[in-house]
Symmetry: C2
Subunit: 313 residues, 2 copies
Amino acid sequence: MSTAPLPATAVIREVGLRDGLQSIQTVLPTERKREWIRDAFAAGQREIEVGSFVPARLLPQLADTADVLAFAKTLPGLKVSVLVPNLRGALHALQAGADLMILPLSASHAHSLANLRKTPDEVVQEMRKIRAARDAAGSQTLIEGGVGTAFGCTLQGEVSHDEVLRLMQALLDAGADRVSLADTVGYADPASVSRLFERALRIAGDRFCCGHFHDTRGLALANVYAALQLGVSRFDASLAGIGGCPHAPGASGNAATEDLAFMLQSCGVRTGVDIEALLALRHRVAAWLEGEATHGALWRAGLPRTFNMATTA
Amino acid sequence: MSTAPLPATAVIREVGLRDGLQSIQTVLPTERKREWIRDAFAAGQREIEVGSFVPARLLPQLADTADVLAFAKTLPGLKVSVLVPNLRGALHALQAGADLMILPLSASHAHSLANLRKTPDEVVQEMRKIRAARDAAGSQTLIEGGVGTAFGCTLQGEVSHDEVLRLMQALLDAGADRVSLADTVGYADPASVSRLFERALRIAGDRFCCGHFHDTRGLALANVYAALQLGVSRFDASLAGIGGCPHAPGASGNAATEDLAFMLQSCGVRTGVDIEALLALRHRVAAWLEGEATHGALWRAGLPRTFNMATTA
Protein backbone atom coordinates (compact mmCIF):
# COMPACT_ATOMS: atom_id res chain seq x y z
CA MET A 1 0.00 0.00 0.00
CA SER A 2 3.02 2.29 0.28
CA THR A 3 3.72 4.94 -2.27
CA ALA A 4 7.13 5.91 -3.62
CA PRO A 5 9.21 8.25 -1.47
CA LEU A 6 8.68 11.94 -2.08
CA PRO A 7 11.46 14.11 -3.53
CA ALA A 8 13.93 15.33 -0.89
CA THR A 9 13.68 18.90 -2.11
CA ALA A 10 11.27 20.94 -4.21
CA VAL A 11 11.21 24.42 -5.67
CA ILE A 12 8.27 26.77 -5.26
CA ARG A 13 8.32 29.17 -8.18
CA GLU A 14 6.63 32.39 -7.13
CA VAL A 15 4.16 33.54 -9.79
CA GLY A 16 2.18 36.03 -7.71
CA LEU A 17 3.86 38.97 -9.45
CA ARG A 18 2.72 37.68 -12.83
CA ASP A 19 -0.22 35.30 -12.65
CA GLY A 20 -1.47 36.90 -9.46
CA LEU A 21 -1.18 40.58 -10.30
CA GLN A 22 -2.40 40.22 -13.88
CA SER A 23 -5.74 38.89 -12.63
CA ILE A 24 -6.59 41.66 -10.18
CA GLN A 25 -7.46 45.32 -10.55
CA THR A 26 -4.84 46.90 -8.30
CA VAL A 27 -1.74 48.09 -10.13
CA LEU A 28 1.10 47.53 -7.72
CA PRO A 29 3.80 50.23 -7.97
CA THR A 30 7.23 49.10 -9.18
CA GLU A 31 8.74 49.93 -5.80
CA ARG A 32 6.34 47.49 -4.10
CA LYS A 33 7.18 44.77 -6.58
CA ARG A 34 10.88 45.29 -5.85
CA GLU A 35 10.18 45.02 -2.13
CA TRP A 36 8.16 41.83 -2.67
CA ILE A 37 10.94 40.26 -4.74
CA ARG A 38 13.67 41.35 -2.34
CA ASP A 39 11.84 39.92 0.66
CA ALA A 40 10.76 36.72 -1.09
CA PHE A 41 14.42 36.24 -1.94
CA ALA A 42 15.39 36.97 1.66
CA ALA A 43 12.83 34.36 2.77
CA GLY A 44 14.61 31.79 0.63
CA GLN A 45 12.69 31.83 -2.65
CA ARG A 46 15.09 31.30 -5.54
CA GLU A 47 12.77 31.27 -8.57
CA ILE A 48 10.41 34.15 -9.28
CA GLU A 49 8.30 34.92 -12.33
CA VAL A 50 8.47 38.70 -12.34
CA GLY A 51 6.07 39.66 -15.11
CA SER A 52 5.03 39.27 -18.69
CA PHE A 53 6.29 40.92 -21.87
CA VAL A 54 2.90 41.80 -23.28
CA PRO A 55 1.74 45.21 -24.54
CA ALA A 56 1.12 47.58 -21.61
CA ARG A 57 -2.34 48.44 -22.93
CA LEU A 58 -3.36 44.79 -22.49
CA LEU A 59 -1.94 44.34 -18.99
CA PRO A 60 -1.12 47.70 -17.38
CA GLN A 61 -0.45 45.82 -14.14
CA LEU A 62 2.69 44.34 -15.73
CA ALA A 63 3.84 47.34 -17.78
CA ASP A 64 6.97 47.68 -15.65
CA THR A 65 8.18 44.13 -16.28
CA ALA A 66 11.52 45.24 -17.76
CA ASP A 67 12.32 47.39 -14.71
CA VAL A 68 11.22 44.72 -12.28
CA LEU A 69 13.26 42.11 -14.12
CA ALA A 70 16.36 44.34 -14.06
CA PHE A 71 16.02 44.67 -10.29
CA ALA A 72 15.45 40.95 -9.77
CA LYS A 73 18.62 40.20 -11.75
CA THR A 74 20.66 42.04 -9.10
CA LEU A 75 19.83 39.37 -6.48
CA PRO A 76 22.60 36.75 -6.60
CA GLY A 77 21.36 33.25 -7.34
CA LEU A 78 17.77 34.25 -8.08
CA LYS A 79 16.40 32.61 -11.22
CA VAL A 80 14.28 35.25 -12.88
CA SER A 81 11.57 34.09 -15.24
CA VAL A 82 9.12 35.97 -17.38
CA LEU A 83 6.12 35.05 -19.47
CA VAL A 84 6.27 35.74 -23.20
CA PRO A 85 3.19 35.32 -25.38
CA ASN A 86 5.10 35.39 -28.68
CA LEU A 87 8.40 36.09 -30.46
CA ARG A 88 8.13 39.82 -29.83
CA GLY A 89 7.90 39.21 -26.08
CA ALA A 90 10.74 36.70 -26.28
CA LEU A 91 13.00 39.29 -27.90
CA HIS A 92 12.34 41.58 -24.92
CA ALA A 93 13.15 38.72 -22.54
CA LEU A 94 16.40 37.96 -24.37
CA GLN A 95 17.37 41.61 -24.32
CA ALA A 96 16.58 41.85 -20.61
CA GLY A 97 18.64 38.76 -19.87
CA ALA A 98 15.88 36.72 -18.21
CA ASP A 99 17.08 33.38 -16.90
CA LEU A 100 13.95 31.71 -18.23
CA MET A 101 11.12 32.65 -20.54
CA ILE A 102 7.86 30.74 -20.53
CA LEU A 103 5.73 30.51 -23.64
CA PRO A 104 2.19 29.54 -22.71
CA LEU A 105 0.23 27.29 -25.01
CA SER A 106 -3.39 26.52 -24.34
CA ALA A 107 -4.31 22.95 -25.19
CA SER A 108 -7.92 24.05 -25.47
CA HIS A 109 -8.35 25.34 -29.02
CA ALA A 110 -11.22 27.59 -27.91
CA HIS A 111 -9.18 29.09 -25.08
CA SER A 112 -6.12 29.46 -27.30
CA LEU A 113 -8.06 31.41 -29.91
CA ALA A 114 -9.81 33.56 -27.32
CA ASN A 115 -6.67 34.28 -25.30
CA LEU A 116 -3.80 34.29 -27.78
CA ARG A 117 -5.66 34.61 -31.09
CA LYS A 118 -3.66 31.64 -32.32
CA THR A 119 -4.37 27.94 -32.58
CA PRO A 120 -2.21 25.72 -30.36
CA ASP A 121 -0.22 24.61 -33.41
CA GLU A 122 0.44 28.23 -34.36
CA VAL A 123 1.89 28.67 -30.85
CA VAL A 124 4.17 25.71 -31.54
CA GLN A 125 5.41 27.62 -34.62
CA GLU A 126 6.07 30.61 -32.36
CA MET A 127 8.19 28.34 -30.14
CA ARG A 128 10.25 27.43 -33.19
CA LYS A 129 10.91 31.12 -33.92
CA ILE A 130 11.73 31.84 -30.29
CA ARG A 131 14.23 29.02 -30.17
CA ALA A 132 15.86 30.24 -33.37
CA ALA A 133 16.06 33.78 -31.95
CA ARG A 134 17.57 32.54 -28.71
CA ASP A 135 20.18 30.47 -30.53
CA ALA A 136 20.97 33.30 -32.94
CA ALA A 137 21.51 35.63 -29.99
CA GLY A 138 23.83 33.13 -28.32
CA SER A 139 21.74 33.68 -25.20
CA GLN A 140 21.66 31.53 -22.05
CA THR A 141 17.94 32.21 -21.48
CA LEU A 142 16.10 28.92 -21.06
CA ILE A 143 12.81 28.37 -22.85
CA GLU A 144 9.88 26.63 -21.17
CA GLY A 145 6.74 25.59 -22.99
CA GLY A 146 3.83 25.72 -20.58
CA VAL A 147 0.80 23.72 -21.67
CA GLY A 148 -2.28 25.28 -20.08
CA THR A 149 -5.94 24.22 -19.76
CA ALA A 150 -4.39 20.77 -19.49
CA PHE A 151 -7.31 19.42 -17.44
CA GLY A 152 -10.16 21.09 -19.26
CA CYS A 153 -11.38 24.54 -20.12
CA THR A 154 -14.25 26.79 -19.12
CA LEU A 155 -14.88 27.62 -22.80
CA GLN A 156 -14.35 24.33 -24.55
CA GLY A 157 -15.06 21.87 -21.76
CA GLU A 158 -13.08 18.69 -22.09
CA VAL A 159 -9.47 18.69 -23.31
CA SER A 160 -8.10 15.24 -24.04
CA HIS A 161 -4.91 14.03 -22.40
CA ASP A 162 -3.77 12.83 -25.83
CA GLU A 163 -4.03 16.33 -27.23
CA VAL A 164 -2.24 17.85 -24.22
CA LEU A 165 0.62 15.40 -24.63
CA ARG A 166 0.78 15.81 -28.40
CA LEU A 167 1.22 19.55 -27.93
CA MET A 168 3.78 19.05 -25.17
CA GLN A 169 5.79 16.83 -27.48
CA ALA A 170 5.42 19.37 -30.28
CA LEU A 171 6.82 22.12 -28.04
CA LEU A 172 9.82 19.96 -27.21
CA ASP A 173 10.32 19.16 -30.89
CA ALA A 174 10.08 22.87 -31.72
CA GLY A 175 12.95 23.67 -29.38
CA ALA A 176 11.61 24.14 -25.85
CA ASP A 177 14.30 23.31 -23.31
CA ARG A 178 11.62 22.12 -20.95
CA VAL A 179 7.88 21.86 -20.52
CA SER A 180 5.29 22.21 -17.78
CA LEU A 181 1.58 21.56 -17.35
CA ALA A 182 -1.01 23.93 -15.93
CA ASP A 183 -4.51 23.47 -14.61
CA THR A 184 -5.48 26.98 -15.63
CA VAL A 185 -9.10 26.84 -14.47
CA GLY A 186 -9.08 24.53 -11.45
CA TYR A 187 -10.55 21.45 -13.13
CA ALA A 188 -7.85 18.97 -12.07
CA ASP A 189 -8.18 16.39 -9.32
CA PRO A 190 -5.40 14.27 -7.84
CA ALA A 191 -6.36 11.15 -9.78
CA SER A 192 -6.29 12.99 -13.12
CA VAL A 193 -3.00 14.62 -12.14
CA SER A 194 -1.52 11.18 -11.49
CA ARG A 195 -2.71 9.90 -14.85
CA LEU A 196 -1.65 12.87 -16.98
CA PHE A 197 1.63 13.64 -15.22
CA GLU A 198 2.75 10.03 -15.33
CA ARG A 199 2.37 10.08 -19.11
CA ALA A 200 4.02 13.52 -19.34
CA LEU A 201 7.03 12.29 -17.38
CA ARG A 202 7.33 9.26 -19.62
CA ILE A 203 7.47 11.58 -22.64
CA ALA A 204 9.58 14.45 -21.33
CA GLY A 205 11.61 12.86 -18.53
CA ASP A 206 13.84 15.44 -16.84
CA ARG A 207 12.62 18.07 -19.27
CA PHE A 208 9.26 18.00 -17.52
CA CYS A 209 9.85 20.75 -15.01
CA CYS A 210 6.78 22.13 -13.25
CA GLY A 211 3.16 21.76 -12.18
CA HIS A 212 0.88 24.78 -12.00
CA PHE A 213 -2.39 24.27 -10.16
CA HIS A 214 -5.11 26.82 -9.62
CA ASP A 215 -7.02 26.43 -6.37
CA THR A 216 -10.35 27.48 -7.85
CA ARG A 217 -12.13 24.46 -6.38
CA GLY A 218 -9.88 23.83 -3.39
CA LEU A 219 -7.83 20.96 -4.80
CA ALA A 220 -4.52 22.67 -5.61
CA LEU A 221 -2.58 21.18 -2.71
CA ALA A 222 -4.03 17.70 -3.18
CA ASN A 223 -3.04 17.98 -6.84
CA VAL A 224 0.49 19.04 -5.91
CA TYR A 225 0.72 16.04 -3.60
CA ALA A 226 -0.31 13.70 -6.41
CA ALA A 227 2.38 15.18 -8.69
CA LEU A 228 4.95 15.09 -5.92
CA GLN A 229 4.37 11.37 -5.55
CA LEU A 230 5.51 10.98 -9.16
CA GLY A 231 8.73 12.86 -8.43
CA VAL A 232 7.71 16.28 -9.76
CA SER A 233 9.62 18.81 -7.68
CA ARG A 234 8.80 22.29 -8.96
CA PHE A 235 5.44 23.99 -8.46
CA ASP A 236 4.12 27.44 -9.24
CA ALA A 237 2.37 29.31 -6.45
CA SER A 238 1.18 32.84 -5.58
CA LEU A 239 1.76 34.47 -2.24
CA ALA A 240 -1.64 34.87 -0.55
CA GLY A 241 -3.11 32.77 -3.37
CA ILE A 242 -3.78 35.91 -5.39
CA GLY A 243 -5.13 35.72 -8.86
CA GLY A 244 -8.24 34.00 -9.99
CA CYS A 245 -10.56 34.03 -12.88
CA PRO A 246 -12.85 36.81 -14.12
CA HIS A 247 -15.53 34.18 -14.73
CA ALA A 248 -15.57 33.04 -11.08
CA PRO A 249 -15.58 36.08 -8.80
CA GLY A 250 -13.92 35.35 -5.48
CA ALA A 251 -12.41 32.12 -6.73
CA SER A 252 -8.82 31.77 -5.71
CA GLY A 253 -5.80 31.91 -7.94
CA ASN A 254 -2.82 29.64 -7.69
CA ALA A 255 -1.96 27.53 -4.73
CA ALA A 256 -0.94 29.91 -1.93
CA THR A 257 2.86 29.95 -1.67
CA GLU A 258 2.82 29.88 2.12
CA ASP A 259 0.39 26.95 2.34
CA LEU A 260 2.33 25.02 -0.28
CA ALA A 261 5.62 25.62 1.55
CA PHE A 262 3.94 24.42 4.74
CA MET A 263 2.66 21.24 3.12
CA LEU A 264 5.97 20.44 1.44
CA GLN A 265 8.11 21.03 4.51
CA SER A 266 5.66 19.16 6.74
CA CYS A 267 5.98 16.24 4.34
CA GLY A 268 9.76 16.39 4.78
CA VAL A 269 10.34 17.96 1.35
CA ARG A 270 12.84 20.79 1.84
CA THR A 271 12.07 24.05 0.02
CA GLY A 272 14.67 26.36 1.53
CA VAL A 273 11.85 28.75 2.41
CA ASP A 274 11.56 30.40 5.82
CA ILE A 275 7.80 30.18 6.30
CA GLU A 276 7.64 32.74 9.12
CA ALA A 277 9.42 35.26 6.89
CA LEU A 278 7.03 34.41 4.08
CA LEU A 279 4.02 34.96 6.36
CA ALA A 280 5.40 38.36 7.34
CA LEU A 281 5.74 39.27 3.66
CA ARG A 282 2.25 37.94 2.96
CA HIS A 283 0.92 40.26 5.61
CA ARG A 284 2.41 43.26 3.82
CA VAL A 285 1.42 42.16 0.31
CA ALA A 286 -2.17 41.59 1.46
CA ALA A 287 -2.19 45.14 2.89
CA TRP A 288 -0.90 46.58 -0.41
CA LEU A 289 -3.71 44.76 -2.19
CA GLU A 290 -6.45 45.93 0.19
CA GLY A 291 -9.86 45.22 -1.28
CA GLU A 292 -8.60 42.35 -3.42
CA ALA A 293 -9.49 38.78 -2.45
CA THR A 294 -6.62 36.90 -0.85
CA HIS A 295 -6.60 33.23 0.00
CA GLY A 296 -4.84 30.54 1.94
CA ALA A 297 -5.26 29.08 5.42
CA LEU A 298 -1.90 29.07 7.18
CA TRP A 299 -1.78 32.84 7.70
CA ARG A 300 -4.86 32.65 9.95
CA ALA A 301 -3.84 29.67 12.03
CA GLY A 302 -0.06 30.03 12.13
CA LEU A 303 2.44 27.20 12.08
CA PRO A 304 1.81 24.19 14.31
CA ARG A 305 3.68 24.12 17.61
CA THR A 306 5.30 20.94 16.39
CA PHE A 307 6.49 22.42 13.12
CA ASN A 308 10.18 22.82 13.88
CA MET A 309 10.35 19.37 15.33
CA ALA A 310 8.73 17.98 12.21
CA THR A 311 11.18 19.63 9.84
CA THR A 312 14.32 18.79 11.74
CA ALA A 313 13.22 15.16 12.14
CA MET B 1 5.65 5.23 -9.91
CA SER B 2 1.97 4.27 -9.88
CA THR B 3 -0.01 4.18 -6.68
CA ALA B 4 -2.64 1.62 -5.74
CA PRO B 5 -6.12 2.11 -7.17
CA LEU B 6 -8.45 4.24 -5.09
CA PRO B 7 -11.56 2.73 -3.48
CA ALA B 8 -14.54 2.53 -5.85
CA THR B 9 -16.84 4.14 -3.31
CA ALA B 10 -16.47 6.22 -0.18
CA VAL B 11 -18.78 7.56 2.50
CA ILE B 12 -18.79 11.17 3.60
CA ARG B 13 -20.06 11.28 7.15
CA GLU B 14 -21.63 14.67 7.77
CA VAL B 15 -20.44 16.11 11.08
CA GLY B 16 -21.47 19.73 10.55
CA LEU B 17 -24.40 19.35 12.94
CA ARG B 18 -22.08 18.21 15.72
CA ASP B 19 -18.47 19.25 15.17
CA GLY B 20 -19.50 22.28 13.16
CA LEU B 21 -22.31 23.67 15.29
CA GLN B 22 -20.57 23.02 18.61
CA SER B 23 -17.72 25.33 17.59
CA ILE B 24 -19.74 28.38 16.63
CA GLN B 25 -21.89 30.84 18.53
CA THR B 26 -25.15 30.57 16.63
CA VAL B 27 -27.65 28.14 18.15
CA LEU B 28 -29.47 26.63 15.21
CA PRO B 29 -33.16 25.93 15.97
CA THR B 30 -34.20 22.28 15.97
CA GLU B 31 -36.43 22.87 12.95
CA ARG B 32 -33.43 24.05 10.93
CA LYS B 33 -31.43 21.03 11.97
CA ARG B 34 -34.27 18.79 10.80
CA GLU B 35 -34.35 20.61 7.48
CA TRP B 36 -30.58 20.25 7.12
CA ILE B 37 -30.73 16.49 7.85
CA ARG B 38 -33.73 15.96 5.58
CA ASP B 39 -32.08 17.73 2.67
CA ALA B 40 -28.65 16.17 3.21
CA PHE B 41 -30.42 12.82 3.09
CA ALA B 42 -32.27 13.87 -0.05
CA ALA B 43 -28.91 14.86 -1.57
CA GLY B 44 -27.68 11.33 -0.98
CA GLN B 45 -25.88 11.53 2.36
CA ARG B 46 -26.42 8.31 4.32
CA GLU B 47 -24.37 8.89 7.48
CA ILE B 48 -24.92 11.92 9.68
CA GLU B 49 -23.60 12.74 13.13
CA VAL B 50 -26.54 14.61 14.58
CA GLY B 51 -25.21 15.86 17.88
CA SER B 52 -23.59 15.07 21.17
CA PHE B 53 -25.01 13.76 24.44
CA VAL B 54 -23.28 16.24 26.69
CA PRO B 55 -24.89 18.44 29.37
CA ALA B 56 -26.83 21.29 27.77
CA ARG B 57 -25.06 23.85 29.95
CA LEU B 58 -21.76 22.85 28.32
CA LEU B 59 -22.99 22.88 24.72
CA PRO B 60 -26.35 24.67 24.42
CA GLN B 61 -25.97 24.42 20.63
CA LEU B 62 -26.53 20.65 20.91
CA ALA B 63 -29.11 20.60 23.70
CA ASP B 64 -31.75 19.23 21.32
CA THR B 65 -29.69 16.20 20.28
CA ALA B 66 -32.35 13.68 21.41
CA ASP B 67 -35.06 15.41 19.34
CA VAL B 68 -32.81 15.75 16.32
CA LEU B 69 -31.77 12.12 16.58
CA ALA B 70 -35.40 10.99 16.79
CA PHE B 71 -36.18 12.86 13.59
CA ALA B 72 -33.10 11.52 11.80
CA LYS B 73 -34.15 7.98 12.68
CA THR B 74 -37.33 8.42 10.62
CA LEU B 75 -35.30 8.64 7.38
CA PRO B 76 -35.04 5.12 5.96
CA GLY B 77 -31.47 3.93 5.50
CA LEU B 78 -29.83 6.87 7.24
CA LYS B 79 -27.14 5.83 9.71
CA VAL B 80 -27.47 8.19 12.61
CA SER B 81 -24.46 8.70 14.81
CA VAL B 82 -23.92 10.73 17.93
CA LEU B 83 -20.94 11.69 20.04
CA VAL B 84 -20.84 10.51 23.63
CA PRO B 85 -18.19 11.77 26.03
CA ASN B 86 -18.79 9.08 28.68
CA LEU B 87 -21.04 6.29 29.93
CA ARG B 88 -23.80 8.70 30.84
CA GLY B 89 -23.93 9.99 27.27
CA ALA B 90 -23.77 6.44 25.96
CA LEU B 91 -26.85 5.48 27.98
CA HIS B 92 -28.73 8.34 26.30
CA ALA B 93 -27.53 7.14 22.90
CA LEU B 94 -28.64 3.59 23.63
CA GLN B 95 -32.03 4.79 24.82
CA ALA B 96 -32.42 6.96 21.71
CA GLY B 97 -31.51 4.04 19.46
CA ALA B 98 -28.57 5.70 17.70
CA ASP B 99 -27.05 3.53 14.99
CA LEU B 100 -23.58 4.50 16.14
CA MET B 101 -22.08 6.24 19.12
CA ILE B 102 -18.61 7.69 19.00
CA LEU B 103 -16.48 7.97 22.12
CA PRO B 104 -13.70 10.49 21.57
CA LEU B 105 -10.34 9.88 23.16
CA SER B 106 -7.62 12.47 22.95
CA ALA B 107 -4.19 10.94 22.50
CA SER B 108 -2.71 14.15 23.87
CA HIS B 109 -2.73 13.79 27.66
CA ALA B 110 -2.84 17.57 28.07
CA HIS B 111 -5.80 17.92 25.70
CA SER B 112 -7.58 14.95 27.27
CA LEU B 113 -7.31 16.44 30.75
CA ALA B 114 -8.35 19.91 29.57
CA ASN B 115 -11.25 18.69 27.44
CA LEU B 116 -12.59 15.57 29.13
CA ARG B 117 -11.00 15.86 32.59
CA LYS B 118 -9.79 12.29 32.18
CA THR B 119 -6.49 10.78 31.11
CA PRO B 120 -6.60 8.82 27.85
CA ASP B 121 -6.41 5.56 29.79
CA GLU B 122 -9.38 6.61 31.91
CA VAL B 123 -11.29 7.10 28.65
CA VAL B 124 -10.35 3.55 27.69
CA GLN B 125 -11.99 2.44 30.96
CA GLU B 126 -15.09 4.40 29.96
CA MET B 127 -15.12 2.45 26.68
CA ARG B 128 -15.13 -0.77 28.69
CA LYS B 129 -18.21 0.41 30.65
CA ILE B 130 -19.96 1.57 27.50
CA ARG B 131 -19.42 -1.77 25.82
CA ALA B 132 -20.76 -3.59 28.88
CA ALA B 133 -23.83 -1.32 28.93
CA ARG B 134 -24.46 -1.85 25.23
CA ASP B 135 -24.18 -5.63 25.57
CA ALA B 136 -26.35 -5.64 28.71
CA ALA B 137 -29.03 -3.69 26.84
CA GLY B 138 -28.92 -6.13 23.92
CA SER B 139 -28.61 -3.04 21.71
CA GLN B 140 -27.54 -2.90 18.07
CA THR B 141 -25.84 0.48 18.51
CA LEU B 142 -22.28 0.31 17.21
CA ILE B 143 -19.46 1.79 19.23
CA GLU B 144 -16.63 3.73 17.61
CA GLY B 145 -13.53 4.86 19.44
CA GLY B 146 -12.27 8.05 17.86
CA VAL B 147 -8.65 8.86 18.65
CA GLY B 148 -8.20 12.63 18.39
CA THR B 149 -5.16 14.95 18.40
CA ALA B 150 -3.59 12.05 16.53
CA PHE B 151 -1.14 14.34 14.72
CA GLY B 152 -0.26 16.67 17.55
CA CYS B 153 -1.93 19.08 19.90
CA THR B 154 -2.02 22.83 20.41
CA LEU B 155 -1.56 22.33 24.16
CA GLN B 156 0.93 19.50 24.38
CA GLY B 157 2.69 19.83 21.05
CA GLU B 158 3.93 16.52 19.74
CA VAL B 159 1.89 13.31 20.15
CA SER B 160 3.79 10.18 19.19
CA HIS B 161 2.39 7.75 16.65
CA ASP B 162 3.24 4.94 19.05
CA GLU B 163 1.03 6.45 21.74
CA VAL B 164 -1.82 7.05 19.26
CA LEU B 165 -1.69 3.44 18.14
CA ARG B 166 -1.36 2.07 21.67
CA LEU B 167 -4.56 3.91 22.61
CA MET B 168 -6.33 2.79 19.43
CA GLN B 169 -5.46 -0.82 20.28
CA ALA B 170 -6.60 -0.27 23.86
CA LEU B 171 -9.98 1.00 22.64
CA LEU B 172 -10.40 -2.10 20.48
CA ASP B 173 -9.39 -4.32 23.40
CA ALA B 174 -11.89 -2.50 25.63
CA GLY B 175 -14.74 -3.34 23.28
CA ALA B 176 -14.94 -0.71 20.53
CA ASP B 177 -16.49 -2.20 17.41
CA ARG B 178 -14.37 0.12 15.33
CA VAL B 179 -11.91 2.97 15.55
CA SER B 180 -11.07 6.16 13.70
CA LEU B 181 -8.34 8.80 13.77
CA ALA B 182 -8.78 12.55 13.90
CA ASP B 183 -6.48 15.47 13.20
CA THR B 184 -8.34 17.65 15.65
CA VAL B 185 -6.19 20.76 15.24
CA GLY B 186 -5.04 20.69 11.62
CA TYR B 187 -1.46 19.52 12.24
CA ALA B 188 -1.49 16.58 9.79
CA ASP B 189 0.14 16.52 6.38
CA PRO B 190 -0.29 13.88 3.69
CA ALA B 191 3.04 12.20 4.43
CA SER B 192 2.25 11.83 8.13
CA VAL B 193 -1.23 10.59 7.25
CA SER B 194 0.31 7.90 5.06
CA ARG B 195 2.66 6.81 7.82
CA LEU B 196 0.16 6.76 10.69
CA PHE B 197 -2.81 5.38 8.77
CA GLU B 198 -0.76 2.57 7.26
CA ARG B 199 0.16 1.42 10.76
CA ALA B 200 -3.42 1.91 12.00
CA LEU B 201 -4.75 -0.24 9.17
CA ARG B 202 -2.22 -2.94 9.97
CA ILE B 203 -3.48 -2.99 13.56
CA ALA B 204 -7.23 -2.55 13.08
CA GLY B 205 -7.84 -3.86 9.55
CA ASP B 206 -11.51 -3.52 8.61
CA ARG B 207 -12.26 -2.14 12.05
CA PHE B 208 -10.44 1.05 11.08
CA CYS B 209 -13.35 3.03 9.78
CA CYS B 210 -12.82 6.75 9.31
CA GLY B 211 -10.47 9.69 8.88
CA HIS B 212 -11.35 13.09 10.32
CA PHE B 213 -9.27 16.00 9.08
CA HIS B 214 -9.59 19.62 10.08
CA ASP B 215 -8.73 22.10 7.38
CA THR B 216 -7.15 24.62 9.75
CA ARG B 217 -4.02 24.92 7.60
CA GLY B 218 -5.55 24.05 4.23
CA LEU B 219 -4.39 20.44 4.00
CA ALA B 220 -7.60 18.52 4.76
CA LEU B 221 -8.25 17.38 1.20
CA ALA B 222 -4.62 16.45 0.54
CA ASN B 223 -4.76 14.45 3.77
CA VAL B 224 -7.95 12.71 2.66
CA TYR B 225 -6.27 11.83 -0.62
CA ALA B 226 -3.32 10.28 1.22
CA ALA B 227 -5.68 8.16 3.33
CA LEU B 228 -7.76 7.25 0.30
CA GLN B 229 -4.66 5.85 -1.36
CA LEU B 230 -4.39 3.38 1.53
CA GLY B 231 -7.97 2.24 0.98
CA VAL B 232 -9.66 4.31 3.71
CA SER B 233 -13.15 5.00 2.46
CA ARG B 234 -15.02 6.97 5.11
CA PHE B 235 -14.30 10.61 5.94
CA ASP B 236 -15.91 13.12 8.23
CA ALA B 237 -16.78 16.51 6.77
CA SER B 238 -18.85 19.62 7.58
CA LEU B 239 -21.09 21.34 5.09
CA ALA B 240 -19.57 24.78 4.37
CA GLY B 241 -16.54 23.68 6.37
CA ILE B 242 -18.09 25.07 9.54
CA GLY B 243 -16.44 24.65 12.86
CA GLY B 244 -12.97 25.64 13.82
CA CYS B 245 -10.99 26.28 16.90
CA PRO B 246 -11.44 28.99 19.52
CA HIS B 247 -7.64 29.37 19.60
CA ALA B 248 -7.43 30.21 15.89
CA PRO B 249 -10.16 32.73 14.99
CA GLY B 250 -11.28 32.38 11.39
CA ALA B 251 -9.55 29.04 10.98
CA SER B 252 -11.74 26.56 9.20
CA GLY B 253 -13.31 23.48 10.67
CA ASN B 254 -13.53 20.14 9.00
CA ALA B 255 -13.03 19.50 5.35
CA ALA B 256 -16.00 21.08 3.55
CA THR B 257 -18.47 18.34 2.62
CA GLU B 258 -19.13 19.79 -0.82
CA ASP B 259 -15.43 20.15 -1.70
CA LEU B 260 -14.69 16.66 -0.46
CA ALA B 261 -17.56 15.20 -2.50
CA PHE B 262 -16.21 17.06 -5.52
CA MET B 263 -12.70 15.72 -5.04
CA LEU B 264 -13.84 12.15 -4.47
CA GLN B 265 -16.23 12.04 -7.41
CA SER B 266 -13.71 13.76 -9.68
CA CYS B 267 -11.25 11.02 -8.71
CA GLY B 268 -13.81 8.43 -9.77
CA VAL B 269 -14.71 7.49 -6.17
CA ARG B 270 -18.50 7.30 -5.98
CA THR B 271 -20.13 8.91 -2.93
CA GLY B 272 -23.80 8.75 -3.89
CA VAL B 273 -24.00 12.48 -3.25
CA ASP B 274 -25.72 14.91 -5.62
CA ILE B 275 -23.28 17.81 -5.43
CA GLU B 276 -25.66 20.37 -6.95
CA ALA B 277 -28.24 19.50 -4.29
CA LEU B 278 -25.55 19.77 -1.65
CA LEU B 279 -24.52 23.21 -2.93
CA ALA B 280 -28.14 24.36 -2.75
CA LEU B 281 -28.34 23.15 0.86
CA ARG B 282 -25.02 24.80 1.64
CA HIS B 283 -26.43 28.08 0.41
CA ARG B 284 -29.28 27.84 2.90
CA VAL B 285 -27.17 26.65 5.82
CA ALA B 286 -24.70 29.51 5.24
CA ALA B 287 -27.64 31.95 5.33
CA TRP B 288 -28.89 30.47 8.63
CA LEU B 289 -25.42 30.94 10.06
CA GLU B 290 -25.04 34.53 8.91
CA GLY B 291 -22.08 36.17 10.62
CA GLU B 292 -20.29 32.88 11.18
CA ALA B 293 -17.25 32.02 9.09
CA THR B 294 -17.93 29.50 6.38
CA HIS B 295 -15.33 27.87 4.17
CA GLY B 296 -14.78 25.86 1.05
CA ALA B 297 -14.08 26.73 -2.57
CA LEU B 298 -16.52 24.88 -4.80
CA TRP B 299 -19.54 26.99 -3.84
CA ARG B 300 -17.91 30.08 -5.35
CA ALA B 301 -16.69 28.54 -8.56
CA GLY B 302 -19.35 25.91 -9.23
CA LEU B 303 -18.77 22.51 -10.77
CA PRO B 304 -16.52 22.25 -13.83
CA ARG B 305 -18.26 22.10 -17.20
CA THR B 306 -16.64 18.70 -17.63
CA PHE B 307 -17.88 17.33 -14.33
CA ASN B 308 -20.66 15.04 -15.57
CA MET B 309 -18.43 13.65 -18.25
CA ALA B 310 -15.79 12.90 -15.65
CA THR B 311 -18.15 11.04 -13.34
CA THR B 312 -19.90 8.99 -15.98
CA ALA B 313 -16.58 7.97 -17.55
